[in-house]
Each structure stands twice: as C-alpha cells, then as structure tokens.
Amino acid sequence: MTGPGKKEYEVLRKFSQNKNRELFIEGACSTTLVMPVGVVRKAITLGPEIRGAVQLGQSTLLLGEGEVKDIYQQFSTLSSVIGVDTTEIMIPAIVWLTYMCEQELGTNNAN
C-alpha cells in the first residue's frame, strides 16, 4: 500500500461503522497479493450488474435486492464446495474471482 493509501485507511478505520468491515476489506484487498490488480478488476466487472452498466454505458444502482440475493446464492455455493470452516475470506475471494475469469475465458473460447 502506498503512503497516502495507508493514511486514508487509518482515517477511515477510526469510524465505528467501519470496524465490522475491516475483516472483509482486508480479505478482499489481499486478493491483489496473489492476483494482478487488472485481473481482479476484470473479474469484478464480469458480475452481471456491473457488466450490464458497462455494456449500456450508463451508471446504475449497484446491488439491488435481486443482485444481493444472487450474490448470497453464489457465496453459499462457494462456501459449501470449499467446505472449510474459516473466518478468512481471502481464499474464498480468490476462488470466486478466478472462477469469474475462467467463466469469461470459457465463454470467449466457445465463441
């Protein structure tokens, strides 16, 4: 993390509402330790809600009720396949991002 990034992080973590988020932020950001940032960015934009906005070239609300349900469904499936009792989300996040990229690769190859 860069110096300015660290400073901003220190400021944001002081807010009590962010305390519970820290575990998830750390897990999510840790994915960039094993994957190139560009691959992480690509995988995130492959989700249907972001992809749709990109294709239409317009901003939309993220994570509406339906999308949240879909994501919970995806994470529930991931969790059952991974099958390890863990509070660390770094590895499940890596698996999910890798899966998204592989799916895209498969779709492109099929085309």
Binding site: L33, V34, D70, V81, V95
Partner: protein
C-alpha cells in the same frame, strides 16, 4: 442473467489452488502468516530483479509465535538491505528471510535448511530455477505464471523496457515511422534514407524518449540525465515504485552530410564499441551514486550503414542499401556477456528507401 456457480468447476479450481491447499493445511492462522509472507515477497520484488537471479530465495514465517531457528541470523532493517547484501548471482547462493511474528525480519545467507520439515509449521516460499514455489506440508507446489513472467511477485520492469526497444526497432526505426526520427535523415520522410543530417543524435534521443513515454507505464523517462558531473547519458528510465534505473546510450552508424552535401561523419563498428565502453562507465558512476538502486545499461545502435555510398548519391541499389542489414557488431570487450547489469546491445537497422 445471474451467474450460477458450477460446483464441479469450483472443485477443479480448488484442486489447482495452492492458496486453498495452504488454507486446508494450516487454517486461519496459516492464512495470516501466508499474507505476511506475500507482503514481503512484493516488497522484495521491488528491490530484486528476478530475471537475473541465479541462486535461490526463501521467505518463511512460522505459524504461531515461535521462531524455529536461532543461530547465525542477522536482523534485517528492511528488505532493500537484504537485496543489497545478497546479489544471488551464483546458483549456489541463497538468501533466507524469516518474517518474525512481530513483523521484524531476519536473514541468513547460504544456509542449509530442512525446508520439508520446517514446512510442517511454517509458510515457506522459494524462488528457484526461475519459478515461484510454496512448500505445503512437505510437498512443493510450483506456481505457473500464464503471463510468461518468472515470478508473480515482481514487476517485469526491465523486461518491459527490452520489449519496448524491440518494438521501437521494428515499428519505428526500420521504416522511419516517426516524425521526429525522420528529421534525422537528410530530406526527411521523403528522402532515400542514405545520409543522416549533421548531429542526428539529438533527434534520435527525442524520438526514443517520446516512444518510451508512450509505451511504458509507471516510469519516468528523461533525456540527458547526468551520469556523473561531465557526462550525460542519453536517456534515463526510472520506475516510480521500484528501485530500478535503466541507462540508455544511443549511437548511430552510417554517414551524415551537411546541407551542401559533403560528408561530415562516417561511423562504423568502432563507434558502437566506444558507446559500449562509455555506457559501462556510466553504469558504474550511476551505481556509485545510487547504491540502493538496481542499474541496468542498454546500448541502442541505430544502423544506417550503406555500401558503396559517396557524397552526392541520391539513390542506392537494393544490394548496397541492405548490405549491412544482418551484419551484427562484434563487441570487444563484450560487456553484455561479462556483466549482469549490461543488456545485449540492440542494433536497429534502418532500411533505405529504394523507390523515389
């Protein structure tokens, strides 16, 4: 359309995933140790050029608070210090770094460790034979890198610069596909590319600087940066987040002429050799001033030699025009073979324009 996760595909991914194997083998505490090892690996990647490392690098962290080894280790102020202490230029050399539970670092050089046994209670990374590996409970897992780089944990900075120079050679110099560079030839873009203008170095430098600025990311490309008090190296490239500097010296071969047509310079092979010597000295100077930086030298030779060319010629036969196309230069001494910080020189042959 929502994405439905295919469980079978996920299982396939998991069998390949070393991260998952680490989680399975060491649990949450292991993941925390894994994360701190990864942070050090990225830091190390800023200070070590994996492409030229011949020895091996081990970075490990014990799971839990206990450090398993005690004798013969030195404390490490920062990872740049380790990179400087241990250049790893021989296959037998090794650098072992331990990330302690309080976040401090210790290192030892050329130690013989039983890594398989150590891996029972530690996250162990090894860089060896141009590959990343993790040892997970005694089993070595090699990380494949589909991007063609030798490691996941460093930036291919010098390699990118090498690629950029190859691109400049093929796309720009060969057919003079650049407005700035075309002014270094007499009669510019419309001319036959037989004679350079007087003192074409300046334009060549500007052309290559502009190209590198457009091609490279996260770099600063500067013209005529002084390597020492009296000698400016043609181009200096430095990377924003990495302690690396590249020095580029440009030499040209061929003939230059004045406006009235008389030949003002005729440079042949010795000119390229003089450039190599000059560059070797610049590298030493630069390293002396920036001992914590990796310095690498690049000699670019723009080759506009033509056979049987005399003052006043306005055209040339194909045979004479391309006579030197594949004529490589013999360097004596061959710095690029005896020094790790000297890249093989890049000769860029400029095609003449035959149909005027």
């Amino acid at each position: 359309m929502p994405i439905k996760i295919n469980e079978e595909k996920v299982r396939e991914l998991l069998t390949e995933s070393y991260e998952f194997q680490i989680m399975q083998s060491y649990g949450d505490e292991g993941i925390a140790a894994f994360r701190s090892v990864l942070e050090i690996l990225h830091d190390l990647g800023r200070h070590i050029d994996h492409d030229i490392v011949k020895g091996s690098i081990v970075v490990f962290r014990s799971i839990g608070a206990t450090s398993v080894i005690s004798a013969g280790w030195s404390n490490l102020r920062d990872i740049a210090h380790a990179a400087q202490e241990c250049p790893l230029q021989n296959e037998t050399e090794s650098l072992v770094v331990e990330v302690c539970s309080d976040g401090t670092l210790r290192y030892v050089k050329n130690a013989v460790l039983n890594l398989a046994s150590l891996s029972e209670g530690a996250i162990i990374y090894i860089y060896r034979d141009k590959h990343d590996h993790f040892i997970i409970k005694g089993v070595t897992k090699t990380l494949e890198n589909p991007y063609g780089y030798v490691t996941w944990f460093g930036m291919p900075t010098y390699r990118e610069l090498g690629d950029a120079l190859e691109e400049y050679k093929r796309r720009i110099v060969k057919t003079c596909n650049c407005d700035i560079l075309s002014r270094s030839w007499r009669d510019g873009a419309d001319g036959p590319r037989l004679f350079f203008t007087q003192g074409p170095e300046k334009l060549m430098r500007k052309s290559l600087t502009a190209f590198l600025n457009a091609f490279l990311r996260g770099t600063e490309v500067d013209e005529e940066n002084p390597a020492d008090d009296s000698h400016p190296v043609d181009i200096t490239v430095s990377w924003t987040f990495y302690s690396r500097i590249a020095l580029i010296e440009i030499k040209w071969l061929g003939q230059s002429s004045a406006d009235d047509g008389h030949i003002t310079a005729d440079h042949k092979e010795p000119r390229a050799n003089a450039g190599a010597k000059q560059l070797a000295e610049y590298i030493d100077e630069k390293y002396g001033r920036n001992p914590l930086h990796l310095v690498r030298g690049y000699l670019v030779v723009i080759d506009g030699r033509r056979r049987n060319l005399s003052a006043g010629h306005t055209s040339i036969s194909r045979e004479d025009g391309f006579y030197y196309k594949d004529s490589e230069i013999t360097y004596n001494p061959a710095y690029h073979q005896v020094r790790m910080d000297f890249e093989p020189p890049t000769r860029m042959f400029a095609d003449p324009k035959l149909a005027i």
